[in-house]
């Protein structure tokens, strides 16, 4: 036996899961389990009760709502989103970024909402969700609240989710017509967690940058929205965007050092990936 003992309940509904979550027993939610199971297997984590929501049909939806937003329920797997025609058409960065997550077997089990609720600082989905201004819909026995994902991620493996709350679905607003996007990461081997990655989306008005979103991950405790770098190129000529952004980025990020890479290497990677992603996003602008 790898994990420490726990009780297991396959929730009959979201309400059932919320009631269990609000109970006395220390509980964790599981859907695909692709982050949680390795932690339990290595006994880096343990819980008294696992509440399974992965099989719930009421959470298994990918749909476009009346406002044109993409709504993804908590039991939807990454593989289902990666190949979904509406996602490919309207949120191509999301589809492309999912392709960088783990391996096919992992994407067949792992969920979008699970990755967001786990918030690994080197994970793709928190960064992508931030770059696309996604909003988390959070439920508990006490009610419902919506939180921009930017406010959901508060530190490495930490989110604003309370112990009795469930991330029921994540909502991606329609993206600006004609905006170009790019998703780039560096990992030592394909499928590994990224050392550093960048998600960027840029829109142009004439020759100038009219909208920009840049998120970098792997350089801080959580995915990082580059507010200063974005501000530095907003309204500026596209042809100068890369030079301006790079000099701003060098002041804006202060990567830490770990066994995988020095802080200097991380910074260099961030600079190179930023250059490549701005160039690619500009090429994709219509």
């Amino acid at each position: 036996m790898k994990p420490a003992p726990f009780d297991y309940v396959a929730a009959q509904s979201v309400d059932h899961a919320l009631t269990l979550l609000a109970g006395e027993v220390e509980a964790k939610l599981i859907a695909g389990g692709q982050s949680l199971m390795p932690l339990l297997n290595m006994r880096l984590g343990r819980t008294d009760l696992l509440i399974d929501i992965g099989h719930l049909e009421e959470l298994n939806h990918i749909r476009i709502d009346e406002e044109g937003r993409l709504v993804i329920g908590a039991s939807v797997t990454q593989a289902d989103v990666q190949n979904h025609p509406d996602v490919l058409a309207g949120w191509p960065m999301l589809a492309a970024g999912i392709g960088e997550i783990g391996h096919p077997q992992i994407r067949n089990r792992g969920t979008i909402c699970g990755s967001l609720a786990h918030n690994d600082p080197a994970a793709e989905l928190p960064a992508i969700a931030m770059a696309l201004d996604a909003v988390a819909e959070i439920h508990s026995v006490n009610g419902t609240r919506t939180v921009p994902v930017e406010d959901l991620f508060i530190g490495p493996f930490m989110t604003a989710l309370a112990e009795d709350e469930l991330l029921k679905q994540v909502v991606f607003p329609p993206q600006q017509e004609g905006a170009g996007w790019s998703f780039k990461e560096f990992a030592t081997r394909p499928g590994d967690f990224a050392t550093v990655g960048v998600a960027a989306q840029i829109a142009l008005l004439g020759e100038n940058v009219s909208d920009v979103k840049i998120v970098v991950f792997g350089v801080a405790g959580s995915a990082l929205r580059l507010d200063a770098t974005e501000a530095s190129i907003l309204g500026r000529p596209a042809e100068r965007a890369i030079d301006i952004a790079v000099s701003e980025l060098e002041m804006e990020i202060k990567p830490a050092e770990d066994i995988h890479s020095s802080h200097l290497f991380r910074k260099e990677l961030a600079v190179e990936l930023l250059k490549e992603s701005i160039a690619e996003a500009l090429e994709r602008c219509l």
Partner: protein, 155 residues
């Protein structure tokens, strides 16, 4: 907990502890030892099986999560006792195995890959098998075996 799983077409009802990983259920409870355990953390792919037709790593799924599902292991691929599945045959024909430890997982992942993409390029095969490690580093012939099984000329 009582679970009921269809494994290789046969219905199996068993009593399992909730923390039992699917791979240990298959090996220890059902005696299907063709599925190997490598890393227990979904890195190596040795434990790849199909759940409802999709490849998953059975070390990061609980047996209780397979309740009511259909699981196929390497033992369930071949059409009969004296005939190999085309992918198994292709691995043999193209020397796609050395020590054999990664092979069941490789074959299961490869079958899943061809289900989704019946005629992949070499790059697509390598990408599709990125979740499976071969510590003999026999990747070249594994890729060749998968391409040959898809009907492509590898000579």
């Amino acid at each position: 907990m009582e679970i009921s799983v269809t494994v290789n077409g046969a219905n199996q009802s068993s009593e399992v502890e909730p923390r039992t990983l699917l791979v240990y259920y298959l090996r220890d409870e059902l005696g299907l030892t063709g599925t190997n355990v490598g890393c227990d953390t979904s890195s190596c792919g040795a434990c790849t099986v199909h759940v409802n037709g999709e490849s998953v790593k059975s070390c990061t799924m609980l047996a209780v999560q397979a309740d009511g599902q259909e699981v196929t292991t390497i033992e369930g691929l071949a059409p009969s006792a004296d005939e190999l599945h085309p992918m198994q045959q292709s691995f043999q024909d193209n020397h796609g195995l050395q020590c054999g430890y990664c092979t069941p997982g490789m074959v299961m992942a490869a079958c899943s890959l061809l289900d989704e993409n019946p005629s992949p390029s070499e790059a697509e095969v390598r990408e599709g098998l990125e979740g499976n490690l071969c510590r003999c580093t026999g990747y070249h012939n594994i890729v060749k075996a998968v391409l040959a099984c898809s009907g492509q000329d590898v000579s």
